[in-house]
Amino acid sequence: MESQTPIAELRGATKLFGEVVAAQDLSLAIRRGEFLSFLGPSGCGKTTALRLLAGFEQPTSGDVLLDGQRVNDVPAHLRPVNMVFQHYALFPHLDVAGNIAYGLRQRRPRPDAAAIAAAVEAALRMVRLPGFGDRRIWEMSGGQQQRVALARAIVNEPKLLLLDEPLAALDKKLRRDMQIELQGLQRSLGITFVLVTHDQEEALSMSDRICIMRGGRIEQVGTPRDLYDRPRNRYVADFVGKSNFFEGRAEAAPGGQTILVAAGGHRIAGTAPAPLAAGARVAASLRPEQIGLARAAPEDGGRIALPVEVVTRIFLGEHTEYLVRNRDLGEFLVLVPRQAEAATGAFDPGEAAQAHWRQGDALILADT
């Protein structure tokens, strides 16, 4: 059974560097055993949040809690938390085993050499580098160094494993492999993982929950599905998956629907996950896969159709991605599945078409 106390918590944590607000009023409870990601562009405060948890920074105001205990004044070396650094920060003067054993050697009373050696070998097996203990750090490839950094942290069995953009330096294929491996490792170890990333795909594929940040604040916290289906505003929707945005003014409509009135008088109906004032500046979010492409406007009265001109066509295998342009709404993306395209035939750039979607499918979001 999971304990109810969050493993870690930020309570109104604010961090100022001089005049600069690095993190503002962060409140977030991290659940025991979950995989949580901080997602946002550089400078959004996600790294500061991580460093507050690690103990490298103390909050200017507010509290940091670990396992129910306030740890504001507990220095990094006394926190049961370990970090995988962005560029690994492996010790160049120690070999692989020396790096991994480093944390164990700091314990008092110090574990005996045999116990340390066994733990190091177990950690090496866990990251699939058995027998690499006596290698030098600079003899290892980037991916291998990444694994050593991971082993160096998990060998200490921390309550919280913090990962600061751990995969940023790896090439795409290796990154994909490591994502899968990290997830597997997290499940088998049962350690709570907190990841910082600017890569939405990485956050979406690995996390149980994502905390989206902007300008030092938390925008929204939720499961990837929550964020995808019910983004609080345009910023969040833009961060989670590809989306098209049409701007306009909100107008209340019956049945809990909201209508967006866009340029050219187009009325786009949709649901608003967050309450909106009538007349507010809003954006309608439509995923490229929600939009179809046809030669003639569909008969179905429940669908809205817009005349468009095809700008570019990109073949993606299972799908074809079209960039199309409407006179009033500008350019947007349409993702057509292979089967649908088999029925209509491919559209060439410059060709006229009808882009259509089910009226009501859109999400109407605050345009911030």
Partner: protein, 284 residues
């Protein structure tokens, strides 16, 4: 020869010529002289004798002084330079750092001769001893003692030690210290386990630089040792310029080079094994 070969030769030639004329030839002359005899009026007379080498015992004190005070002086420089370099690299704000670094080399703007004169007065009867006397702490003799020579050495050679250590600490990736703290090491253990080993190259370079120069030192012992604490360098000045016994002087010089070679080799062995087999621990 290809153009490339010619270019390589042109680049190497000045340095090679310099080494040949300024190092190899004099060394050969010294070795040849060291087997010769003193001419009637002083200087060199051709001969082949080992007497000069068998006589080296006559200058044993100079060798003993050099071989104790040079390592001691190096150690004193190291111990005093490290905290200073550490402060400059790790603690000083960037605004102050440049100014403080300049202050470290400011003494070099005046001649070592003048600066050593200043120390003669400071350590002499009217200087620090009289001050101590006024405070009722007795009046120890400082000038013309090994201590005075050590003071002069530290004063003169400290910057040569500070800079290599400063550079190695400045280049040290500060995230390694965060990683060390993150893994549970308190600050002082992070220093011992990360900072100190990673600044070894700087310490090795600085020590080597100071040690080699100290082995040939003669000015500081001459001025602050007052003929009582003399180095091999002083013996050489004496032999070549005063008693004009060039062959014996050459033997002493050759012996010094040999001693230095052995000492440096041993030292390199030591630092190598200390730093493991890392090939990036450069010594010079």
């Amino acid at each position: 020869m290809t153009r490339r070969d010619i270019r390589t030769w042109l680049l190497v030639a000045p340095a090679a010529a310099w080494l040949l004329v300024m190092l190899v030839l004099p060394l050969v002359v010294v070795v040849v002289f060291s087997f010769g005899e003193r001419a009637e009026a002083g200087g060199y007379a051709p001969a082949f004798t080992l007497d000069n080498y068998l006589n080296l015992g006559a200058r044993a004190t100079a060798f003993a002084n050099t071989l104790t005070l040079a390592p001691l002086g190096t150690l004193a420089c190291l111990v005093l330079a490290y905290p200073l370099a550490y402060f400059l690299a790790m603690r000083a704000s960037p605004r102050w750092r440049t100014l403080l670094l300049i202050l470290v080399i400011v003494p070099f703007w005046t001649s070592i001769l003048i600066r050593s004169y200043a120390w003669i007065f400071l350590l002499g009867g009217q200087g620090i001893p009289s001050l101590l006397n006024a405070l009722g702490l007795g009046s120890p003799r400082l000038i013309n003692t090994p201590f005075a020579v050590l003071v002069g050495i530290v004063y003169g050679y400290l910057p040569l030690m500070v800079f290599p250590i400063y550079v190695s600490l400045d280049r040290l990736d500060k995230r390694l210290l965060e990683a060390s703290a993150d893994l549970g090491a308190p600050p002082w253990r992070s220093f011992l386990q990360v900072t100190l080993p990673l600044s070894m190259p700087g310490m090795a370079t600085g020590s080597m630089l100071v040690f080699i120069l100290l082995m040939g030192e003669f000015l500081i012992p001459a001025m602050l040792g007052g003929g009582k604490v003399f180095f091999v360098g002083n013996a050489l000045v004496d032999l070549f310029l005063q008693s004009r016994n060039w062959p014996f002087g050459s033997a002493v010089a050759a012996a010094l080079v040999l001693v230095m070679l052995v000492a440096v080799t041993l030292y390199m062995r030591f630092t190598r094994s200390w730093a493991g087999t890392r090939d990036d621990v450069s010594l010079m």
